[in-house]
Amino acid sequence: MTEPVVIVGSGQAGLQVGVSLREAGHRGPVTIVGDEPGLPYQRPPLSKAYLLGKTDEAGLLLRREAVLTEAEIDLVASARVAEIRRASQTVLLSDGRELPYAHLILATGARNRVLPVPGADLDGVVMLRSLADARELRGRLAVCRRAVVVGAGFIGLEFAAVASELGLSVHVMEAAGRVMARAVSPEMSAYFLERHTERGVVTSFRAAVTEIVGETGRATGVRTRDGTVVPADLVLVAIGVVPNEEIARDAGLETANGVVVDERLLTSDPNISAIGDCAAHPNPFDEGMVRLESVQNAVDQARTVAARLAGHGQPYRSVPWFWSDQGRDKLQIAGITAGADTRIVRSEEAAGRFMVICFRGGRFVGIETVNWPAEHMTARKLLAAGTALTPAQAAAEGFRLKDHLTAGVMAA
């Protein structure tokens, strides 16, 4: 516990593993290297409260500087790792500094996927991942009138809700046939489509963007394959992210949709772990290898690695969960519901809330809820307990998650 640990990435996962290492009693040097300037900060508010002006930059910080200094967590900001030198167990920074490690933790996260069409580099075309992006976006929201959002995933929809609240006209273009197609059930997609439509957001599906058109270097519209041009003075490209796996791949570590790790979150190199948005790992709540993009995964994987380095290693088995706030609606997901082939919907329309209980191959895989945080918490407990649940049970009159949880525990 006195050896140097180097953490590549100063996002949620990188910061958490540094903090957790100190909490676990690690006494050796802990160094976090991040390519962004400044202190580690929370990303979720960047597409919500921060854009609405409800939070300022200080309110985004994960820890005040004094906390990191007191904990002797050394933050090297605005620095990129150019190379991992596994043989000498050092990392080479792009400024030429070399940092030794006994253990290296890759928390490099992901970067926005670029829209490969002409005009994608026009002024007014933006993406949203970093605080710098959000700062720019916040400025533009104050002066722009018509936004086109390319991509109806979580970021695109959260932004659509914010932009329409701020009075812009919003048109969302989605390549798939429904919103949040990658992650939620068709029933949940339908609910959110209705909510966004109610607030005046226009949506196009199976929309293929072919060009962003402009005048004097500024974006003026978005053209789709059918030839239509939708006017816009602000274009948010929100078509997903790709994992930052290049330094791992270049160092000879296995990469496949991220840095490949085992259930201990260890790569094929016993001195290198990977966590967070960049890590492809076996997850008991899904099939095969997955890469989860969530605060929960970043935090829990960080805690798992810190515990292992402190001598109490356990396989990573945390229940995946996620939230997305779009306007007044709070979507929450417990488990991994993407790919569910059987879904039971239970709703309390009068209270404006409902849930989609999801199954795949007959197995209970998770629950999506809207405006029902207590049920979301119960769903997480059900998943953590490994309680069995069938579609017939979930569809039964009077079925209540809480009762099922209690019954399941008693049966065990």
Partner: protein, 107 residues
């Protein structure tokens, strides 16, 4: 900068000078006060920022919201009449001197 004191189950306490407008949860987390996990970052979505508000302050911290009320039924440590989600209590000069007690566990 209104002060808020966090008292651990073992009796040890820490007082933080919070920025006005920041939640009791945020003041704890950003200052490295352990015992508040705040997994969801303050979205009233995880019940891991649970605190017991000192009796002398319970009237002054405001009412429990509906969603918060549901979430308080999900806390890991027992719910008491003075239980609150600390992400829902905003620090203002009126709460200068606030004392909250941390539960045994948040998860």
């Amino acid at each position: 900068m209104p002060a808020v004191t966090y008292v651990r189950p073992d009796g040890a306490s820490r007082t933080i000078e919070a920025d006005e407008g920041v939640s009791v949860m945020q003041a704890a987390v950003s200052n490295g006060v352990s015992g508040i996990d705040a997994d969801c970052g303050g979205a009233a979505s995880c019940a891991t920022c649970h605190v017991y508000v000192d009796e002398a302050w319970i009237e002054r911290v405001g009412q429990v919201g509906d969603d918060e009320n549901d979430m308080l039924d999900c806390t890991a440590s027992e719910r008491r009449p003075n239980s609150r989600l600390s992400c829902q209590i905003e620090m203002t000069s009126e709460l200068d001197g606030l004392v909250v007690r941390l539960p045994e566990t948040q998860s």
